[in-house]
């Protein structure tokens, strides 16, 4: 899988900014959806360069997602140990950054 840079952390947040189509792929990657993801920091600001990740949760452009990198990325797919190093494993509905011990 073409990845444009090393992922920032083993598990991190990102925003889907596009789709990627590859007709010739390694065996085992057939049917795997590829999305272009921009990693974001905790304030959801873009950080670093975009990368290509495979999708396991039917995410779409514009959605905030979280990803897992390296060997665990391939474990997110049905096929065992295919050559991927980033996988989208969840769509973020909300991030609560309030401290419950501080009165609102």
């Amino acid at each position: 899988m073409p990845v444009l840079w090393d992922s920032p952390q083993p598990m991190y947040l990102g925003r889907v900014i596009g789709t990627c189509v590859a007709s010739r792929k390694y065996t085992g990657l057939e049917g795997v959806k590829l999305l272009v993801v921009q990693p974001v920091d905790r304030g959801l600001r873009p950080k670093g360069a975009p990368l290509v990740a495979c999708d396991t949760v039917r995410a779409g452009p514009g959605e905030l997602v979280y990803l897992v990198a390296s060997r665990e990325a391939s474990m997110a797919l049905d096929e065992a140990f295919v050559p991927v190093d980033a996988a989208i494993v969840g769509i973020v509905d909300d991030i609560d950054q309030r401290d419950p011990e501080v009165a609102p």
Partner: protein, 91 residues
């Protein structure tokens, strides 16, 4: 393992089956002085940590698989919060 501060809880409905029933937190790595540094981490919580806690984050898949178990030998989780830190003493 990395020293981090929990800065947020993540709510997700559409997720990989391996994440069902697991608490996912946003953690910010800390420097030796306690200042926030580097990129935020998404991590699964094992120790009932909450926002503001200083925690230990294990960023290694094999240990995570041993702790959480696997399905068909697979578990797509890498970062795991394994401890809540009371105190760090340097020097």
């Amino acid at each position: 393992m990395k020293l981090c501060r929990v800065v947020g809880t993540l709510v997700s409905t559409a997720k990989h089956p391996a994440y069902i029933g697991r608490k996912v937190l946003i953690c910010q790595p800390l420097s030796e002085s306690g200042a926030e540094t580097g990129d935020a981490i998404v991590a699964v919580d094992r120790v009932q940590a909450g926002i503001g806690d200083t925690v230990l984050v294990n960023q290694e898949g094999s240990g995570t698989r041993q702790l959480l178990g696997t399905v068909d030998g697979k578990l797509p989780i890498r970062s795991l919060i394994v401890g809540v830190v009371d105190e760090v003493a340097l020097g």
